[in-house]
């Protein structure tokens, strides 16, 4: 029971920073997929459609992870 209570409490108090990070990683993943599929840089709307959130939400989330462009730049070899 203690476990359940802790689980509920933790889930009610998820900090927004964590949820933003989750969204940002989904967006990066979506971008990679779209790049592979279309062979060109996707736009924010294409990424938003893929993730199922608004382009505004995605844009905000992308700022939460201070990922320099190079980290999610596809590796050209």
């Amino acid at each position: 029971l203690g476990e359940v209570r802790r689980y509920l409490r933790d889930n009610n108090s998820i900090r927004v920073s964590r949820s933003l990070r989750d969204t940002a990683y989904k967006a990066i993943y979506a971008r990679e997929n779209l790049m592979k599929k279309n062979m060109k840089e996707p736009t924010i709307m294409e990424i938003a459609d893929e993730v199922g959130l608004s382009k505004e939400e995605i844009t905000y989330a992308m700022d939460a992870i201070q990922t320099p462009m190079s980290l999610y730049e596809p590796v050209y070899t």
Binding site: S13, R15, V16, S17, S19, E56, Y60
Partner: protein, 141 residues
């Protein structure tokens, strides 16, 4: 004691700015380290207020919406202001399910949501002089 911090945003009354306003307030709120639930609550309330300004205040026509977001101690205050048609009977407008929109287009629950998700909602309005909705919420209980 921390100083009050305030940001004022002026934007056109267009539906695209509803999402902009929602997210902009969320970005501001993030400095208060809210939970996901708190941020969702505030976003819902802001959406309802801005949608009302666009749809009812300016009735889909041109106009400017002012958003003032501030934090003082642990209280967030959001003010949403339009210079639209205004409301004759504010008490009636705030009743659950009351709507002036034609046949089932709107739920009439906008003000009820604002009241449910924020701690305090104040509406100042008069016909011809626009509407100001001020909402407050304590963050991090």
């Amino acid at each position: 004691m921390k100083k009050r911090e305030v940001v004022t945003i002026k934007m056109d009354s267009v539906s695209e700015n509803e999402e902009f306003a929602r997210v902009a307030v969320a970005v501001f709120l993030s400095r208060m380290n809210p939970t996901l639930e708190e941020i969702e609550d505030v976003k819902t309330a802001v959406s309802e207020a801005v949608t009302n300004a666009v749809i009812h205040g300016y009735q889909g026509g041109e106009g400017t919406i002012t958003l003032e977001v501030s934090v003082e101690e642990d209280v967030l205050t959001v003010l949403v202001q339009d210079e639209g048609v205004g409301i004759r009977d504010v008490a009636k407008a705030m009743e659950p399910m009351y709507t002036t929109a034609p046949d089932g287009e709107r739920s009439g629950m906008g003000f009820s949501f604002m009241e449910a998700f924020m701690d305090q909602v104040e509406v100042v309005s008069a016909p011809g002089s626009g509407t100001t909705v001020t909402m407050r919420k304590k963050i991090g209980r």
